[in-house]
Symmetry: C2
Subunit: 324 residues, 2 copies
Amino acid sequence: MKDMTDMIIPTYQDMLDAHERIAPHIRRTPVRTSDYLNELTGAQLFFKCENFQEPGAFKVRGATNAVFGLDDAQAAKGVATHSSGNHASCLSYAAMRRGIPCNVVMPRTAPQAKKDTVRRYGGQITECEPSTTSREETFAKVQAETGGDFVHPYNDPRVIAGQGTCSREFMEQTDGLDMMVAPIGGGGMISGTCLTLSTLAPEVEIIAAEPEQADDAYRSFKAGHIIADDAPKTIADGLLVPLKELTWHFVSNHVTDIFTASEDEIIDAMKLTWKHLRVVMEPSCAVPLAIILKNKERFAGKRVGVIITGGNVDLDTLPWIKGD
Amino acid sequence: MKDMTDMIIPTYQDMLDAHERIAPHIRRTPVRTSDYLNELTGAQLFFKCENFQEPGAFKVRGATNAVFGLDDAQAAKGVATHSSGNHASCLSYAAMRRGIPCNVVMPRTAPQAKKDTVRRYGGQITECEPSTTSREETFAKVQAETGGDFVHPYNDPRVIAGQGTCSREFMEQTDGLDMMVAPIGGGGMISGTCLTLSTLAPEVEIIAAEPEQADDAYRSFKAGHIIADDAPKTIADGLLVPLKELTWHFVSNHVTDIFTASEDEIIDAMKLTWKHLRVVMEPSCAVPLAIILKNKERFAGKRVGVIITGGNVDLDTLPWIKGD
């Protein structure tokens, strides 16, 4: 872990600047409610549908902030990242909107659909072997060749400031909240939430939701330092990555609690949401509802904001349907 | 067909009254767009998400208008209908909100999920055999016993006035439309759309979308009189019923065109919408996008409103996934 003095911690003003910068390029996503899910949980739930962003995930906020914050000289060289998930497509999308190059290093084993989406948004993919060594070597080479600005999926102050704009909208769209729940993987969304709410509404409890089978943030939180797992495995495949120093800063300072849910609980909550909210969302987004259902007494009678983080799902293989 | 003099044709004022009456009980559903679907079709598409109504369908508008328009004496006896679809659950939902009885006659072969939903909303189900004779006999008996006011799923002026409120909101939420496309079964939504737009925005073309395999409205439209099919079969199971005199009045006077789509085209459009709009919707709601994709030249460059009519889907058997 780097020394704190190395880190640039984004500020509330950075979040406000980010919001102004990205507003023309992102959607102010709607907030949905369900009487049925309220009755089931005993809480009053508000769901912010970031799955309705054009590229299907909240990550377009941070990516757009990074891309549109570049000066013209850097912008000409474009951006670069390594990711096989929503950050790759969201960064490509943002770069496409600015008309600059985006280079993405992806394991050759990444799903074809993910590669197709990146390419649809004009992203240039360089494939690596599915190992950390290969990814780092390949990425260093790509960056040296292109000079693209590295936009980390979450351990980047511009990205965290961008993600923080979601909670700002959410607070404007609801008449006060007691708690905010978001899934935690690398911690980008949770960090943005902490950044915004710690100034805007410090009375709101911030709860992170994590899969039992990838509970490194939970264990880090209990231990008081970052614990990174080696290759965790969960259906919530947006939540596999570990905390890094910047996100740990926010998690350790501002998160009230982290709760975990099992694979079955996640799948049940996912199906419940599809059925009653009628939105298509990823397994990762179901972890918050899963932990609310599992810890009802903690949420009962409260006004609870839930961030639905993304909606890019392989519709051919849904976890509750047994295939051939 | 009854003589025109028997019919009570709802007026624009009836729609305005309906909107005031139902506003506390329904959702003002959001309008969604997708850059991807715009590029694919060459049109500018706006989707009104009536699948986001609490009971999952636009039919809550008409049902609520009928239920809350009853005087207290009639209300005490409740309402009654025959339906195995969204009208049954939406009428039960509206009756529950007013605290009055709702009796529903349903074929004993109706899906268990549909029965469960009606019961969850306090509806009382009387089962009949899956034949028109049995349904009519059973319904007559139930109505005689309960005195419940018959609320037809679509051939009822209160219902059509209620459905018309959807287009009024839609016009408020968009900055002008050139066309409005909705699926057509019995014609309740299309009739409400005609009722509203023929006064509010007569320049908007009204297009109905119908499955090829249940194209009785299309053939009626071409023939100039109602043609009813005997037991059509399509995946768009919300569109199986025929036009009746009231809906025929609106369709024959105000609809510009009816287009049809094949089963495969409907399934493709359904999957496309789930993937890119990230909403859970019924096969019936995919018929509009299917006919737009099939007749691109007719819609290119136009601002087109599409009504997503319902989102009550059996998530265990999606049409593009082959089961065991």
